[in-house]
């Protein structure tokens, strides 16, 4: 009897297992079609030979990666020297994205904290206000930013009118403009996860810290920030990753001098000047970079979670 019951039980769990596999199928399909297939395609293309008017020739080569890291002269016959051009573009992008993340954190944390400490009804309004810009397409918002920042734009007009400056300040086509663009584009991604963390924070802990002689600043540093660290890390990832690959803000606000990875890759697939394998190779390098950073942050996150719950 016992044996029969056990068999029956395992047969049923088999049924559950197969049902589960079938139910998971749509998710797998979406993952394959929209994530794995494009990445695989990119990976394959990065090892192919370029066709001059765009497209590829199906012939294996490491030329794209070689071009990224090395300079072999105009005709490719000189000894290989490390080519810093693209590496520098990457470095500049990481730096820009890092700075944008830092600025977003600097402004986003107090904003999120402010919203989370409002009465429940007003909180919803604030969150709604934060998300309003997202009702307008990013391209349109970035173009508008261009008009705001240009020499004769409202920002300069305002600064001139207040007498803070005598001549228009050059903002457009500088790194600062790219920064402003990135910061503006991704700030809500910083605010929302931190807000979610602060909202769950037990404010009795702040009272306990104050009761134990901690000043407001010490309480923030030693109690609040460690408690909401998962939200801070999530916000940093959500701002850093898209900033790193962004091309709208650098293209439209930064001008030709302030090339970033996103623009570099975009160029390779646009018009006749493109080089698809090179674009694919640059994408793969970017992807690897992002994955390494994410893995590092994920480990931090796991540690923060463990500390918050254990």
């Amino acid at each position: 009897m016992a044996g029969a019951a056990a068999t029956g039980g395992s047969a049923r769990s088999d049924t559950y297992a197969s049902a589960r596999n079938w139910l998971l199928l749509p998710s797998w399909a979406v993952l394959c079609i929209f994530v794995l297939a494009p990445v695989a395609m990119m990976l394959v293309y990065s090892f192919l030979t370029k066709e001059f008017r765009g497209g590829v020739i199906w012939e294996f080569t490491l030329a794209a990666y070689d071009q990224f890291f090395f300079d072999r002269g105009l005709f490719g016959d000189e000894p290989a020297r490390i080519d810093w051009t693209y590496i520098l573009i990457f470095w500049r992008s990481i730096w820009q994205a890092g700075l944008a993340t830092f600025l977003a954190l600097l402004i986003g944390f107090p904003t999120a904290y402010f919203i989370a400490t409002r009465p429940a009804q007003t909180r919803t309004v604030w969150v709604f206000l934060i998300t309003i810009p997202y009702w307008v397409n990013l391209l349109i918002r970035t173009v508008s930013m261009k008009f705001l920042l240009r020499d004769q734009g409202p920002l300069n007009d305002f600064l001139l009118a207040t007498g803070l400056i005598d001549d228009p300040v050059r903002i457009i086509n500088t790194n600062a403009a790219v920064q402003i663009g990135l910061f503006y584009s991704y700030l809500p991604f910083m605010v929302l996860p931190i807000y979610a963390s602060v909202e769950r924070y037990n404010f009795a802990l702040s009272e306990a810290a104050a009761d134990l002689y901690a000043s407001k600043w010490t309480t923030l540093r030693r109690i609040v920030i460690p408690s909401v660290r998962p939200g801070i890390i999530a916000g940093c990832i959500l701002v850093f990753v898209p900033s790193l690959g962004a091309f709208l803000a650098p293209d439209l606000l930064g001008g030709a001098k302030n090339f970033m990875i996103g623009s570099l890759i975009e160029e390779q697939f646009k018009g006749n000047a493109g080089n698809w394998p090179f674009g694919a190779a640059a994408s793969m390098i970017l992807l690897t970079l992002v994955l390494v950073i994410l893995m590092f942050l994920a480990r931090q996150q796991a540690r923060a979670d463990r500390e918050a719950t254990s």
């Binding site: 802990l205 104050a210 134990l212 901690a214 918050a308 254990s310």
Partner: protein, 360 residues
């Protein structure tokens, strides 16, 4: 000038939230070295008063003194008082030891000195083996003791405890009562304890302040409050009682003769403004009456029911004129001999001094 020997002096403290008045002019003193309890039902303002002493709530009007020093305008981190919070509020990302060390470090102790002191405190609450754990790895009772150690470590002038036992189960709560009391005696620190549990208040406190509806109802020693409640609220809230309506017939020296609705008369101590003809309330504790077989005395009635409650039996007796009294008889051989079946006519004897006239 407030008395500098008092740990806490609250003078005419008022707390208003918009148009709502949470505390209406409270004045009380907490003596150095005593176990003082603020007792009342939820919403009576006891926690608000405690939070005002800690500094978490602004004082709308009035003053608070700590050993003669005015503190109501100091931020919480500048007041030398510590709090044990209702849900402990232990820092989840720190170990038990780090939690206890926190207040010491904030007061400028070196790490080593703080660690040494934290070790002593954890020993006091018997949690030394747990010092490296995180709060979530401890049971509720253990977390409670960590919260106590953390609040005691900086040697506050007054320790404030905000319903610290309410989240524990009954057995643990009873064990913690005597532990708290003995720690208070051992450390000599003034404890100010907030609770809605009258038994907790009676067993631990040196003095109790009973609060209701934002007002101080009565302040006194535990026995005093139980035996001599000043009003219906206190008589009813502390323990169980029989509340009777009466009219004063005569006042002779300090003894008043009162007539109940049914025509029965009763003598009790006259209070303040007692004068003949006034309507008053009288409280008689159920355990201060005894039953006997009917003997023709006017104080007699019919047994309605007997309720067995373990240590005692509660007997409801219907007097002539519709008054029902509850009498408590101890569940002992002598006690059980005075319990009668429902329907039996019995005589009730009220112990001398048991009837207490109330102010309102």
């Amino acid at each position: 000038m407030p008395d500098t020997r008092n740990a806490i002096d609250v003078r005419n403290a008022v707390k208003r939230y918009g148009s709502f008045t949470a505390l209406q002019s409270i004045t009380l003193s907490i003596r150095d070295n005593e176990f003082f309890t603020l007792l009342g039902p939820s919403g009576c303002g006891k926690t608000t008063l405690l939070r005002m002493i800690a500094g978490f709530e602004d004082v709308t009007e009035g003053e608070i003194f700590l050993f003669g020093e005015e503190i109501e305008n100091l931020p919480p981190h500048q007041r030398p008082v510590n709090t044990v919070f209702q849900n402990y509020a232990l820092f989840p990302h720190m170990t038990i030891e780090e939690n206890v060390m926190f207040g010491l470090e904030m007061r400028g102790s070196s790490r080593d000195a703080a660690r040494k002191k934290a070790g002593e405190m954890l020993e006091l609450v018997q949690l030394t083996p747990f010092s490296a754990r995180k709060p979530s790895q401890l049971s509720g009772g253990q977390q409670q003791r960590v919260a106590l150690a953390r609040a005691l470590a900086p040697q506050p002038k007054v320790l404030l405890l905000d319903e610290p036992l309410s989240a524990l189960d009954l057995k643990l709560r009873q064990a913690m009562r005597s532990e708290l009391k003995s720690i208070q005696r051992e450390t000599g620190i003034t404890f100010t304890f907030v609770t809605h549990d009258q038994e907790e208040a009676l067993t631990m406190s040196d003095r109790i302040a009973v609060m209701s509806a934002g007002r101080l109802q009565q302040l006194g020693e535990a026995r005093d409050i139980y035996e001599r409640p000043v009003n219906r609220f206190v008589a009813d809230f502390i323990g169980e009682t029989n509340l009777l309506d009466a009219r004063i017939e005569a006042v002779d020296a300090s003894v008043a003769t009162c007539r109940l609705g049914s025509g029965l008369t009763l003598e009790c101590d006259a209070i303040g403004n007692a004068r003949p003809g006034a309507d008053v309330h009288i409280s008689i504790r159920p355990e201060r009456m005894t039953l006997a077989a009917a003997n023709g005395d006017p104080w007699q009635g019919t047994v309605k029911e007997n309720i067995f409650v373990g240590t005692d039996v509660q007997t409801v007796v219907q007097l002539q004129g519709g008054i029902a009294l509850t009498v408590r008889t101890q569940n002992s051989a002598a006690g059980v001999a005075t319990i009668f079946d429902p329907g039996t006519e019995v005589a009730i004897t009220v112990e001398a001094g048991a009837a207490r006239m109330l102010e309102d």
